[in-house]
């Protein structure tokens, strides 16, 4: 049997050699040899049609959403509740993550990796002490810039709540702030952060240049946790942060000053739309654009327990007039929404294992695959 196969192979070689001589005339030279090793790099400034996609606890993907070639530009590793910060001031990326020395067990290490934006090589690491970083999937508020992106604050939950303050330039931890009964972190003031408290207030902490607490202030109670709590997902539009509520309000908070201003809330659902029982729904439920428009994922026939279900429509609001200006039907129900920051923004909606790319008019431009997408996604477009 072996001999038979060898003869057949010999015949094939002869045939091939003959064919090769014919075709070699069209291509007189063989293809050049490749250079080994070769590794791609990224441009100094990423285009605004690129976006980071944070697959909770799995990987962070850099995708070109502006091209039909649907390219993955790069990937960053992400394990448990990894969180990405992209500064505008330095050619670096920051990813906070958590690993164990023996896979699912052993010694826990929480750390921020500093990546070079050009090579994506890790160029630094900041180990976060105490193994206390909050592990809550890819949720907004686990980490935030402050002090003009010079520092970052990381939310800890053990289940006691605290915040670790990190100097990103010196690449070191500078302190820890207790925030009992409060959760998540949002940038506020020139050098500080705010956090949502279980009493319905917002606690704001001012830091000094060394990252030490310089003052605290607590807002009035404005978050009715028992009756209509705010989503912790939010978006900044025109300098003001907007939090939708589970039952369909939106709560603006001006966090630019050292003390936050709780602005009047307003309804997302007009009296005329009450019958459909529309409510905000999904994971990253709200987006905004430079025109101060607010985009909210909305679902009809909502009831208790449906607030994380995929939404069927996007309702678009003018934040100045507090009125709905557009109502967009999604081609597929979506859970996370975001808008790119370019001159011609694109609306991105994660819908199951697809990332649907729309024009802000609601016209679907393309649909990208999200293979092995499993749970939650945080979409983080580039500026």
């Amino acid at each position: 049997m072996t001999a038979g196969i060898l003869s057949a192979k010999a015949a094939a070689i002869c045939a091939c050699v003959a064919a090769a001589h014919a075709a070699a005339a069209d291509f007189p030279k063989p293809l050049p040899t490749d250079i080994i090793p070769k590794v791609e790099t990224l441009p100094a400034k990423y285009p605004t049609t690129w976006t980071f996609l944070n697959y909770a606890s799995d990987r962070i993907e850099l995708r070109n959403v502006g091209s039909d070639s649907r390219e993955v530009k790069a990937q960053l590793q992400a394990h448990d509740s990894a969180t990405l910060l992209v500064p505008e001031k330095r050619p670096e990326l920051y990813v906070a993550d958590t690993v164990w020395s023996r896979g699912t067990r052993g010694t826990r290490t929480d750390f921020i990796t500093v990546y070079d934006t050009h090579t994506l090589n890790p160029i630094g690491e900041i180990v976060l002490p105490g193994a206390k970083r909050a592990l809550i999937a890819a949720v907004e508020g686990l980490m935030a810039f402050t002090d003009d992106q010079r520092m970052a604050v990381v939310f800890n939950f053990t289940p006691a709540s605290s915040v670790t303050v990190v100097d990103l330039v010196k690449r070191q931890v500078v302190g820890e702030v207790e925030i009992p009964g409060c959760s998540l972190v949002y940038p506020s003031g020139t050098r500080g952060f705010s956090t949502l408290c279980s009493s319905g207030t917002m606690l704001s902490v001012r830091l000094d240049a060394n990252g030490v607490v310089a003052g605290r202030g607590e807002s009035k109670a404005f978050n009715p946790l028992d009756t209509d709590p705010l989503f912790t997902a939010s978006i900044v539009v025109g300098g003001v942060r907007y939090f939708p509520s589970l039952h369909g309000r939106v709560q603006p908070v001006d966090m630019r000053g050292d003390e936050v201003k709780i602005l009047p809330d307003w309804p997302l659902v007009s009296a005329a739309d009450q019958a459909g029982n529309w409510r905000p729904s999904g994971w990253q439920v709200v987006a905004g654009d430079e025109q101060k428009l607010l985009y909210v994922l909305m679902q009809p026939n909502a009831h208790e327990g449906t607030h994380k279900n995929p939404a069927t429509e996007v309702w678009v609001y003018n934040t100045a007039t507090r009125t709905r200006v557009k109502r967009l039907r999604l081609v597929r129900p979506g859970s996370s929404i975001s808008l790119t920051h370019g001159a011609e923004p694109l609306m991105l909606v994660q819908a199951g294992e697809r990332l649907d790319v729309y024009e802000p008019s609601g016209n679907l431009v393309r649909s990208l695959d999200l293979p092995d997408f499993r749970s939650r996604m945080q979409i983080e477009p580039l500026r």
């Binding site: 592990l135 289940p159 279980s198 028992d226 208790e304 994380k308």
Partner: protein
């Protein structure tokens, strides 16, 4: 309101009966961080107990494992089993654990989030403690998301997104159990 204060008391007694001092300390620490959250919890959820949520289509299939107790109907490997009204995660019954036990080699977190689910057999509402099992392999089998009473993590003890692995050697999430802490209607 007396009804609900009784409820709270009964829940706390239930904790006391079945958890170690250390666990209670941890659990109450978690609960009380959200000031006064617990007494309101059953109120906010009463009457919302019916669970008709579909299981995740990507779940690994498994054959029925129906219990023999007519008062506890349903299949604990399926997302529509009544105790799972507030589960977000993988069901331990598909991994060598059960509705109320962790798979071999993992560790049950004593600190957790709490829901209130309606038992269609005896028509009672039960306070369910969703204890995560930690330190094992999470492979995505029997993933289940129901959000009855789930709230944003401003009160973490009402949030099923938090990895509830505390006071365990490893905080790696594996799967979720659904344990009865007490019946909310059982206050006569």
């Amino acid at each position: 309101m007396a009804q609900f204060d009784n409820l709270t008391e009964s829940v706390l007694r239930s904790f006391a009966r079945h958890t170690s001092r250390r666990s209670i300390f941890g659990m109450l620490g978690g609960l009380l961080a959200g000031a006064a959250a617990l007494p309101l919890l059953p109120v906010a959820r009463a009457g919302e107990g019916d669970t008709n949520s579909a299981s995740d289509p990507n779940s690994g299939q498994s054959a029925p494992q129906g219990g023999s107790n007519p008062q506890d109907p349903g299949d604990p490997t399926k997302c529509d089993y009544w105790r799972y009204c507030a589960v977000d995660g993988s069901l331990c019954a598909c991994y060598g654990g059960s509705v109320n036990s962790c798979p071999p080699g993992t560790e049950m977190s004593p600190i957790t989030w709490i829901g209130t689910c309606h038992n269609p057999a005896d028509q009672r509402h039960y306070i369910i403690s969703y204890n995560d099992c930690c330190g094992g392999v999470a492979s995505g089998r029997c993933s289940c998301q129901n959000n009855q009473g789930d709230r944003p993590p401003v009160r973490p003890q009402n949030s099923n997104e938090v990895t509830w692995c505390f006071d365990t050697k490893s905080q790696v999430y594996t799967c979720t159990t659904a344990n009865i802490l007490g019946a909310t209607n059982d206050h006569k």
